[in-house]
């Protein structure tokens, strides 16, 4: 359900205890509205992946507050008992590589998520198909992932991220292996989808080719973020 996007206040993450403790996040604030595509940029070791993992409900933060859509999902402790359902229903993932399940065809790769949520197979496939159409890969609906080009696979993975209409999508270096034309195409799609499905999208990247397209950018350094206005250049 697309709601008010995602909002983080004072998120902290500490690894370890005592003298050897390491503070990867030292109070991060972020806010992304539905339909927005923001960039998250930072060098390695800056806590970028930790932040992503917290956002993705993969690890538990140490302190802070996370609001997803209308709901507070973390407030110095998980408010939702079922993280996995959270990931399945309310967070979409787009990875560096498409990571499609090789033994499911394109439709089922996308339809898997609604099926996991308990929806009937026929309905799940219908939803999947509508997304595939939106992403212009419906003609490959019956193919196996290995038969698709890289770009097509990436689009299928985006469809998968969107199929359950999550309020937020986390994209981790989605354009890293691509050339500039394809990279811009991906960003274009993400922007399209964000608006179409009213989803907040956070793109973790250091790809110079696409950074100029963001209207807003969060820089993360030493466990703290800083907001910055981006160039918001239109796509070529």
């Amino acid at each position: 359900m697309a709601g008010k996007g995602i909002r983080i206040e004072g998120l902290r993450k500490r690894y370890g205890k005592g003298d050897t403790a390491l503070d990867a996040l030292k109070g991060v604030d972020m806010q992304v509205a539905p339909g927005e595509v923001v960039g998250l940029i930072g060098p390695s070791g800056s806590g970028k992946s930790t932040l992503l993992k917290c956002l993705g409900a993969v690890i538990e933060p140490t302190a802070g507050r996370m609001t997803l859509g209308e709901e507070v999902i973390y407030d110095n402790g998980w408010k939702m008992p079922d993280l996995r359902a959270l990931r399945r229903d309310r967070i979409g993932f787009v990875f560096q590589a498409p990571y499609l399940i090789p033994f499911l065809d394109v439709t089922d790769n996308v339809a898997l998520l609604p099926m996991l949520a308990g929806r009937a197979n026929a309905e799940s496939r219908k939803r999947a198909l509508s997304l595939l159409e939106a992403l212009d890969v419906a003609h490959r609906a019956k193919a196996m992932p290995s038969q698709l080009s890289g770009g097509e696979q990436q689009r299928v993975s985006i469809a998968r991220a969107l199929v359950n209409r999550p309020p937020v999508i986390l994209a981790d270096e989605p354009t890293a292996p691509l050339d500039s034309e394809r990279a811009l195409a991906v960003i274009r799609i993400l922007n399209q989808m964000a608006l179409q499905y009213e989803t907040a999208i956070i793109v973790v990247t250091h790809d110079e080719k696409i950074i100029p397209t963001f209207k807003r950018i969060y820089h993360i350094r030493d466990g703290k973020t800083q907001e910055e206005a981006g160039e918001g250049r239109a796509f070529e």
Binding site: S49, V58, R87, F93, Y99, P102, F103, D108, N121, R160
Partner: protein, 400 residues
């Protein structure tokens, strides 16, 4: 919900089936080994069944005639015939030796039977071709495992026999096929050697002054004649009249005739408990080791198959698949592998079992047990893989 395990199998069915076939051959070997053991026990049982006897009368204090050599005079059967409860008693001799046919030699157990008629103890119970022995000399009924065919002439010691009948599954406890010949010929075969040896023996007797006295002209001839006569047999097979208990018929014979008598149950114990027990233990040990090795290999295969999917599993976990679903997918694949393996194993065991030189008995009970065992092992093996899978951190999918 679609079946993840099914889809995975369908997608890489070639690899799956190939692995299944490999596993199946291993299972087939294990099933065959069990069959070899059962075959050995069955050989012993079949030997007792085929003799058509209820009681075995042998030399006193021996475990004969199969486990130990036993020697009786061939007129003992007459006194046994007179005992109460005895329906039929027939002499029988056993000798394991090489039987020649044309250019080749076959190892067989030559059984000397009284050619009295059908149903006589010692005679083969059923034939697959030809007829039973009707003449008192120079005819033979052979088991098909010898490779002899109807009408062929075979040579046992110094005489030639015409094969007039064929049997199946008439084997000794050691698995040697049987050849039935008339008793008198068998007594001669057991005793008389080849011509050279006989000539030698005559020479030696003639040069012994005790036997070759000039004053007694007929003595040497009489001695030589007595040397070429064999009045011994190995056992008397007894059939008990209907209505009599074999043990009750056996006891008077034991006590008054100073002979050893075994009932069917006692013979089975001797054969299985003593004669084949060492070989059986040998095979039993090997079977256990084989089963353990098979289990280990199955576990290894399933573990490896799972590890090959670790990235997919991480992705699945990340996108929100339940642990339960992932575990069930792995277990389903393991059980499916086990099923294919068992099917392949059972089929291959059935097809290659007849090729073995000794009898391999594949019992349906063993097959069911094997199936259950394979599935259990696969399930247990999958547990290891499942543990590994569940330990995967979904965060792996998200690069550092």
């Amino acid at each position: 919900m679609i079946s993840l395990a099914g889809r995975d199998i369908l997608h890489s069915w070639g690899k799956f089936v190939f692995t299944g076939v490999g596993l199946g051959l291993l299972i087939g070997v294990t099933l065959t080994m069990a069959g070899v053991y059962r075959g050995m026990v069955d050989d012993a049982k079949v030997l007792l069944d085929n003799s058509g006897a209820d009681l075995w009368v042998v030399q006193q204090d021996t475990l004969g005639p199969y486990a130990e050599p036993s020697s009786l005079y061939d007129d003992v059967y007459r006194t046994i015939l007179g005992m109460p409860g005895v329906d039929r008693a027939a002499n029988v001799t056993y000798l394991t030796m090489q039987v020649r046919q044309g250019e080749r030699d076959v190892r067989a157990m030559v059984v000397g039977v009284v050619p009295g008629g059908p149903g006589e103890p010692g005679q083969p119970g059923y034939l697959i071709a030809g007829r039973q022995i009707t003449r008192g000399h120079y005819e033979a009924v052979a088991d098909i495992a010898t490779g002899f065919k109807l009408g062929e002439r075979i040579q046992i010691r110094r005489n030639h026999y015409a094969v007039v009948g064929l049997t199946r599954r008439m084997v000794s406890s050691g698995g040697d096929p049987m050849v039935f010949i008339p008793l008198k010929d068998a007594q001669e075969a057991q005793f008389l050697k080849d011509n050279d040896a006989i000539a030698q023996q005559r020479r030696r007797t003639a040069s012994n002054p005790a036997f070759n006295r000039p004053g007694t002209p007929g003595l040497l001839d009489a001695v030589l004649a007595s040397q070429s006569v064999n009045p011994y047999i190995n056992a008397v097979l007894v059939q008990v009249k209907p209505g009599f208990i074999p043990e009750e018929v056996a006891e008077p014979i034991r006590r008054w005739k100073r002979l050893q008598v075994y009932t069917r149950a006692q013979m089975e114990e001797i054969l299985i408990g003593k004669l084949i027990s060492t070989a059986a233990k040998q095979i039993g040990m090997f079977l256990v080791i084989l089963a353990i090795v098979s289990a280990a290999i199955v576990a290894f295969i399933i573990y490896t198959l799972t590890l090959g999917k670790i990235r997919e599993i991480a992705v699945l976990k990340l996108i929100g698949t339940r642990n339960r679903t992932i575990a069930w997918m792995i277990m389903q694949q393991a059980l499916g592998l086990g099923l294919i393996g068992f099917v392949v194993g059972k089929i291959s065991a059935t097809f290659w079992a007849p090729i073995f030189p000794k009898y391999v008995l594949l019992e349906p009970g063993d097959a069911l047990l094997g199936f259950a065992g394979v599935q259990v092992i696969c399930a247990l093996a999958s547990v290891l893989a499942i543990r590994a899978a569940l330990k995967v951190d979904p965060a792996e999918a998200i690069g550092g």
